[in-house]
């Protein structure tokens, strides 16, 4: 009984797998493209979500708009430009590289270089002036010995 059931389940899933493989929805490529595009665009209402993730009304409208434009044959750049013209660069998750965003893009590297410079300076200064070996005063030595010898064993 169990074997029959197992075989049945296997057959059904194999059939399902086969249909999924042989007959992909005709717009699979489009869906993938839209999905990718939507994850690169920001929802203006819930600002830390992408268009793909957001449940906001506006996000749904914008997804519809993006789909319509894609179906009308517009490429990704044109669709992105369309949204940027209306909502500004903020709609892009990846801010474009331009003069006003130089600080944003290169600032971290400048900070890193600054940190590296300080680090290097500290290191080289240490190397230039190696810590002097501690010198011992023979008088202190004698005193320590005297104290140790004096101590009764615990």
């Amino acid at each position: 009984m169990r074997a029959i059931l197992l075989i049945g389940v296997a057959a059904i899933s194999a059939a399902a797998y086969a249909t999924a493989m042989t007959a992909p929805p005709p717009s699979a490529a489009l869906e993938a493209r839209l999905k990718k595009l939507e994850t690169e665009l920001r929802c203006l209402v819930c600002q830390n979500q992408t268009l793909a993730d957001s449940n906001a009304d506006l996000a749904a409208d914008l997804r519809r708009e993006v789909r319509e434009q894609a179906l009308a044959g517009k490429n990704d750049v044109e669709i992105r430009d369309y949204l940027v013209a209306r909502y500004g660069d903020f709609v892009l998750y990846d801010p474009p590289l331009k003069r006003t965003t130089w600080l944003l893009w290169f600032g971290p590297f400048v900070l890193l270089a600054g940190g590296g410079l300080v680090w290097w300076q500290v290191l080289s200064r240490r190397q230039r002036a190696p810590a002097a070996a501690p010198t011992r005063d023979p008088a202190d030595d004698a005193r320590a010995r005297a104290l140790l010898d004096d101590e009764p064993p615990a």
């Binding site: 203006l44 209402v45 600002q47 009304d57 506006l58 409208d61 914008l62 708009e65 940027v84 013209a85 209306r86 909502y87 500004g88 660069d89 903020f90």
Partner: protein, 181 residues
């Protein structure tokens, strides 16, 4: 470099970095992340041709309003903060300083008409943007929003969120007077 100036640098550089950091964070705290600067400022107002709420047989186009300074107020009957700014709009309309056109955004016309009947109608005309397409063209992402458009049909100012007395007195009305000249 003398010993003492080295020592000076040792604490003054981190201090300077810290002060700069604090200044950046301080300014950042003052920004409202929901006020995204519109790229449409100083650009021609996107064209539209929409049916009028109170006169569904007639349309109005942005083009028709060329030659005058006007406000476009995006609102909806479902929009809670629209109620906050509405009395101000009604007051403004009574002064006849500047015509206010309403863009009824993603609303049902029956609800919108009832809402205006109840709260007062400040609009010279209300335009029906049922599917929100014109809203998208204007980069609307949070109702209410208000645009100031000049005689040449160029957007000169955008208020995101409810109008306030301060915004009206300090920014919008002075700009209206200047543009009307």
């Amino acid at each position: 470099m003398t010993e003492s100036s080295m020592k000076m640098l040792r604490w003054s550089i981190p201090l300077a970095v810290f002060v700069v950091l604090v200044a950046f964070l301080w300014v950042g705290l003052g920004h409202d992340p929901h006020e995204v600067p519109s790229p449409l400022i100083d650009k021609p107002a996107p064209a539209f041709k929409l049916l009028q709420l109170h006169d569904p047989d007639k349309t109005l186009a942005a083009e028709d309003l060329k030659g005058r300074v006007w406000l476009l107020n995006v609102w909806a009957s479902w929009c809670v903060s629209c109620r906050v700014e509405h009395p101000l709009l009604v007051q403004l309309a009574k002064t006849n300083v500047v015509p206010v056109y309403g863009l009824d955004y993603k609303d049902k016309s029956d609800d919108a008409l009832a809402w205006l009947a109840q709260h007062g109608n400040p609009y010279t005309a209300s335009l029906v943007d049922g599917d929100g397409k014109v809203g998208i063209d204007y980069g609307v992402y949070g109702v209410p929003e208000t645009f100031l458009i000049d005689k040449l049909g160029v957007i000169r100012y955008k208020q995101i969120g409810p109008l306030t007395v301060e915004a009206l007195q300090q920014k919008i009305l002075p700009l209206v007077r200047q543009l009307q000249r």
